[in-house]
Structure formats: C-alpha cells, structure tokens
C-alpha cells in the first residue's frame, strides 16, 4: 500500500511544487520589470534634461568666414608697406557671427572680426521684433548704418570683393555705427522703412556757451520698396536714404575754425554759427534681377550718393580728431553701377561681374583747379574705377574670386600737388621715383589684380 501511495504522494508534491513555481517566477519578473521601468524612467528623465540643454544650444547659431587673398598692384604701393610689383598676401577678413535666438522675437548678435594681432567688434546688438504683426523691430548696439543698399550687404555675400570708393572713403567707411535703429518691414506691403538715431563723433570736452546746445548725433533713414513679377522672372527693389550729421565746435573759444570750399579755394573760416556744421548725404539705390530665359540670372545694381561731409584733414572719412577746429568740409558725389551675370544654365558655379564706380570727394573744384596753394590736396581728386571679376562657387563653403580693378584719377597740372602723398618738392623724400608713382598730372598706374579665396561656414 505504502509502495502504491508513494508515486501518488510524489505526484501530489510535484503538483504543489509546480503550482508554487509560477507564482515565484511572476514575482521575480515583476520585480525585474519594475527595475527596468525605473531605469527607463531615469533614462527618460535624463533624456529630457539633455534635450532641454540641446534645445537651448540650438538657439545659438554660429557662422563665419575667412577671406585670404593675393594682390598684385601695377605701380603703386600696396597697403602694408609692400613695394610695387611685389605682390602681397593678406588675410582680408576673418569673422565669426554668433546669433542667439532667445524666442518671442528677441535676438542677440555678436560678430568679431579677427585681425593679425587683435580682434574688433563688427556687430554687437540686440533685436526685438514685435510678435503681433511681426513687421516692426528695433535694434540697439553696434550695427550697420541703415543707409542705402551696399552698406547692409554682408562682405561674404557681395558679388564684388570690395565696396565702392564712396563708401570706403566717406563717413560710411566700416559700415558700422552705434545707436538705435527701428524698422518696419511688412510682409504684405511692398514697402519698408528704417530709421536710426546714432551716435555721431565722440563728445569732446567743451567749455563756454556751446555746452548748452550740443547735439552730436546722426539721424539716418531709408524708405524702400520691393516688387517682384514672378511670371516674368523680374524683381525691382530700391530706396532713398538720408544721413543727417550734426557736429559741434569744440574750441574753448566760442568760434571754431575749419576749412571749407569757398569761391575757388578751400579756405579757413572762423565761425560762431553752429549750423554750419550740420550736413547731410542723400542716397538713392536700385536693385533689379531678371532671369534671362535659357541663360540664367542677371542682376543690375545702382547706387548714388550726394552730400556735404565734414571730415578730418585730408579727406572725408569719419572724423575722429580731438577738435573740429581742424575739420574740412566738402561737397561730395559718388555713384556706381554693377552688372552680375549668373549663367546658371551652362556654368552654374560661375558668376561674372562688372562695376563702374565714380567718386568725387569735392565737386566744387575740378582738374587744374585743384591747386595746393589754394588749400587743396590729393583728397580732392576724383576717381573712376572699372572692375571686372569672376566668382567661382567651388562648393557650398568655398568661393574663389579673380578681380581686376582699372583705376583712373582726375589730373591736375599743379606741380606742387604732384607727389600727392605730401612730400615737399626739394626735400630728400621728393625723389623722381616718388613723383613717378604719385604724379597727378597723368593717370597713376594703380590698377590691381586680386585673387581671393573665401571659406564660409
């Protein structure tokens, strides 16, 4: 009997044991599952934290470019002290632009430009765009002067490798300023508007009656329009700008002394009338693109500048001197026209460029009237520059440019002005070689060939 019951007892035990085993397995699996779930939750938490950090970093955009070039001048010295026909390598520009999009229409921009031994800030501003219409914005800080078309064009995106002579030799040199600019750029309307209230020249120490009425500010504005006829492949944009420049006399005396064209001479004038130093520049610009069927895109750009400029002695660049008593005032004129052909259908990576550029820093005097004895200098000579060029867009990052500038200058027969760098006839520095390179009685051979590589990211 016992022998008969043993298998049954064993079978019963086995049945009990098998009933207990799944319960134990379930508990273990549940425990494991909870552990895995905990790990997944932890990873998910960590992922969301990382994602928030990455999303924050994604708001920061970094771009930049480096321009490296070799320039070969014909007879005139290259800048930097390199002698004629020697040629020179140069790091023309090296910039990094940091743009942080904080959301809700707020943006911050910083763009340093790296030089060989230091760096300078090209842009440092905030921009806020209102979020209702998204068409009105304000920009505060170091930024482009809101004038014309050329100034606002990035150096990396321009078809030409250098800006126009008027821009490079006037108050617009460097393109940047410090101030507050407001804009209206509606997406629904073909117009746009920019108004800037900018710092003028740095305030100097002032005594006397002038201090009560000083206002060294610049006001700049541009009204623009934009039209596109998509069916025709045609667009026409343009605008009119005005740069109002207000300066103050800083002499301790009530009257400042400055030089201005009067009659046929640049003469020193002592004046107590502050209004004499309120000047302005008018600008007109036009940009048109047209897609030539079967060939590619053609662009025509034109810009016109006219106005009175107060500059430092010897030119009309931005005045940075300590006292305006040594300022010079000139009526100026400049215009340029640029044609750009992109033969997309045949040579999609190439771009052909031509520009005619005229610049007269003193429209009140011409040619032989530019006489040193009457106060004029090489700064009164007008220039015409014909530029032909080729851009090769090797890939999305690399652009190689080949440009040739043919420069012609206004001439004068005044021997005293020849040797325009200011060397005095009869001195040791006034050598025959010097005169040959600076002889304003004829066209100075200062054509220049430039090969440039630009890498942008």
């Amino acid at each position: 009997m016992n022998k008969m019951l043993l298998p049954i007892a064993l079978a019963a035990f086995a049945g009990f044991a098998s009933a207990e085993a799944p319960a134990a397995d379930d508990a273990a699996q549940k425990e494991k599952l909870e552990a895995v779930e905990g790990k997944v939750d932890g990873l998910n938490e960590s992922y969301l934290e990382t994602k928030t950090t990455v999303a924050g970093l994604a708001k920061l955009k970094i771009g930049g470019f480096v321009q490296f070039q070799y320039a070969l001048a014909s007879d005139t010295n290259l800048s930097g002290g390199y002698s004629q026909k020697q040629g020179a390598w140069a790091m023309r520009r090296a910039r990094i632009k940091f743009t942080y999009d904080a959301g809700n229409g707020a943006q911050f921009v910083w763009q340093p430009n790296f030089l060989e031994t230091k760096f300078e800030t090209k842009d440092a501003y905030f921009q806020y765009t209102e979020q209702w219409l998204k068409s009105i914005w304000v920009k505060g800080g170091i930024q482009d002067i809101p004038f014309g078309f050329e100034i606002g064009n990035s150096s990396s995106g321009m078809e030409l490798i250098e800006r126009s002579r008027y821009e490079n030799n006037s108050v617009f040199n460097g393109e940047k300023t410090l101030g507050l600019v407001a804009g209206y750029t509606p997406s629904e309307l073909p117009i746009n508007l920019k108004i800037g209230w900018l710092n003028g020249q740095p305030q100097q120490a002032v005594t006397g009656d002038w201090s009560a009425t000083q206002d060294p500010k610049n006001f700049v504005g541009r009204v623009g329009f934009t039209t596109a006829f998509n069916e025709l492949g045609l667009s026409v944009d343009g605008g009119a700008s005005y740069f109002y420049d207000s300066k103050v006399l800083t002499d301790t005396a009530k009257g400042g002394t400055y030089t201005q064209f009067r009659n046929d001479s640049m003469v020193k004038i002592t004046s107590s009338f502050r209004n004499d130093l309120k000047t302005g520049i008018l600008g007109l610009d036009l940009q048109s693109t047209y897609e030539i069927p079967g060939l590619g895109g053609f662009k025509l750009l034109g810009e016109y500048y006219m106005g009175k400029i107060v500059g430092q002695p010897g030119g009309i660049k931005l005045y940075t001197g300590a006292a305006l008593s040594t300022a010079e005032i000139r009526n100026t004129l400049g215009y340029n026209i640029t044609g750009v052909l992109n033969p997309v259908q045949f040579l999609p990576k190439l771009q052909l460029v031509y520009r005619y550029d005229y610049f007269d820093p003193n429209t009140d005097v011409d040619g032989n009237g530019i006489i040193k004895a009457k106060g004029f200098s090489a700064a009164d000579i007008a220039y015409t520059t014909n530029t032909i060029g080729l851009n090769w867009f090797v890939n999305g990052n690399l652009k190689v440019s080949l440009f040739y500038d043919i420069v012609s200058n206004e001439t004068t027969t005044d021997a005293a002005l020849n040797g325009a760098g200011g060397k005095t006839p009869g001195t040791a520095a006034y050598t025959a070689a010097y005169v040959a390179k600076n002889d304003l009685s004829g066209n100075i051979d200062d054509n220049i060939l430039t090969v440039r590589a630009q890498v942008a990211f």
Partner: protein
C-alpha cells in the same frame, strides 16, 4: 600695367571655367521628409519610363533641401512649407533669380491620436495649448485622467515649421515634446502610446486616428479628407512644394512636367496625398 605678370593665373581661370560646367542627366532631389516617399515613387516611375535619366532622391527635411538649393548641391528641393523671404533673398543674392515654385500636391496636416483615445475633435487653440505645454492632461479636454505625451518633428522639418507658424502662431514648442526624426516615427510612437498625440502628413496616417480639427469652438470640425483639403475647409490644408533655383529647363523641366501630369498626380493619390489641382 604689364599683364605678363599675371600669366600664371590663366590656367586657374581655365580650370574654373571647366569645373563650373553643368553636370549630366542626373536630377538630384532633396528636402522634405514628408514628401520623400512620394518623391521616391515619382522617381522610380519616371526612371522606368526614361532610362536615360537618373533621379536621386534624399530627405533630410525642407530646411536642409532649401539650403542645398541655395548652395547649388541639388537641382530640385522638396518642401512641405513655402520658402521664407530670407531664403528667397539668399537665392536672389546667389543666382539673381527669384526661385521657381511648383505646387506638386496638397496635404491635410493631420493631428494623430491613438485609437484608444476618445477625443474626437480639437480646436486650433486646444492643439496650440497642448504643444506649448499649457494643457498637459487629457482630462482638461474631456478625456481620461492621463498625462498627454506630445510627439513632434525636428526643427529642420518643414512640417515642424508649418505647424509652428500656423498652429502655434510662432510660439515655441513645449520643452518636453519628443522630437522624432520622421513622420513615420511620429505615427509609430502615437500608435503605441494611448496617451500620445502627434502631427504629420495625411499619407502617413495608418494605425492611428486623425482628429477632426476646427478653427475655433464655434466652427464645424473637419477631418483631413480629400474633399475637405481640396475645398480648403480643413484648417490645416497646405500645399507640398518643389523649388528650383531658376525656371526649369531641359531634363528637370521634363521631370516636373511629368509630375504635374495625370500620371504623376496619380502617384500623389496612391501615396495618400491629394492632387495639386
């Protein structure tokens, strides 16, 4: 000036001219992930009929495609959103052209819900509140007491931008949104997550349910059907675009003409989108 000084540059100029020369009969297409399946079907069908032409299709997102168009590394860009004015300006700066826009198909940008979700319809404001993080629980919308799991796309996606512009009114997405690499991934995630919500093209809506959408609380709700999308009553109707840097010509023109033909548009329907006209 003695030009002989510059003789060494002649080979450089010649090389530039040669290397800038246009390439062969290969058409490259890049851009929208929303459109990538449709674009591949177009390419396959076209190449079968035109053995001399190769069409290479890649995705990457609308933003990536537009950048490639500006950089000259693609012939055609697919985009599930219109090109921005800043992008057009770059195209104009580089090529002196205005770009050429082709409306290749229509889509009803769909709001995906899990099959188990009892929510039937949502207003644009409700969707915005979900995606900006103001509404976080289905209970607030009449559903179960459960946290809403929000799925979306990555920021190089045209759908991401379209949704942000047209539903969120430009506001930022909530930080907790799970960004998926493609619409198929969004659909897959919502199909497996009963508390999930996502968005994407109508063609991908398989295994999930599309919510009816209404402009506001007082408006009728519409599903993203062909009739509703074509008539424009569905609030999130949109075109799917193709862009070229200039007016199409040669092989590219022939390919685009074929896409707009009844044969090309039939593929649009097969894939799940709607014909452009």
């Amino acid at each position: 000036m003695n030009l002989s000084n510059f003789k060494f540059l002649a080979p450089l100029a010649a090389a530039a001219a040669l290397m800038g020369a246009a390439s062969s009969q290969t058409i490259t297409v890049k851009g929208s992930d929303t459109m990538v399946i449709m674009a591949q079907r177009w390419a396959e069908a076209y190449m079968a009929k035109h053995p001399g032409t190769a069409v290479q299709v890649t995705g990457g997102g609308s933003g990536t495609g537009i950048s490639a168009l500006i950089n000259g590394t693609t012939d055609i860009c697919n985009s599930s959103r219109p090109m921005k004015s800043a992008e057009r300006a770059k195209l104009k700066e580089r090529y002196a052209t205005l770009g050429f826009e082709i409306k290749s198909a229509k889509d009803g940008l769909s709001v995906y819900l899990n099959d188990a979700n009892n929510i039937q319809e949502l207003t644009l404001a409700q969707i915005k509140d979900i995606y900006t993080g103001k509404t976080t629980n289905w209970k607030q919308l009449g559903g179960p007491d459960a946290k809403i799991i929000v799925y979306g796309r990555e920021n190089n996606s045209g759908t991401y931008v379209f949704f942000k512009d047209n539903v969120l009114d430009g506001a930022d997405y909530m930080p907790g949104m799970q960004s998926m690499p493609g619409t198929a991934a969004v659909v897959n995630a919502v199909a497996k997550d009963k508390n999930g919500i996502g968005y994407g093209g109508a063609a991908y809506a398989k295994g999930i349910r599309e919510a009816k959408v209404k402009k506001d609380a007082g408006s009728p709700a519409y599903a993203p059907t062909e009739a509703n999308v074509k008539s424009g009553v569905y609030p999130l109707s949109r075109y799917l675009y193709m862009y070229t840097a200039q007016r199409p010509s040669g092989a590219v023109k022939e390919y685009i003409d074929w896409i707009l033909s009844s044969e090309g548009q039939a593929i649009v329907t097969q894939v799940g989108y709607f014909p452009a006209k």
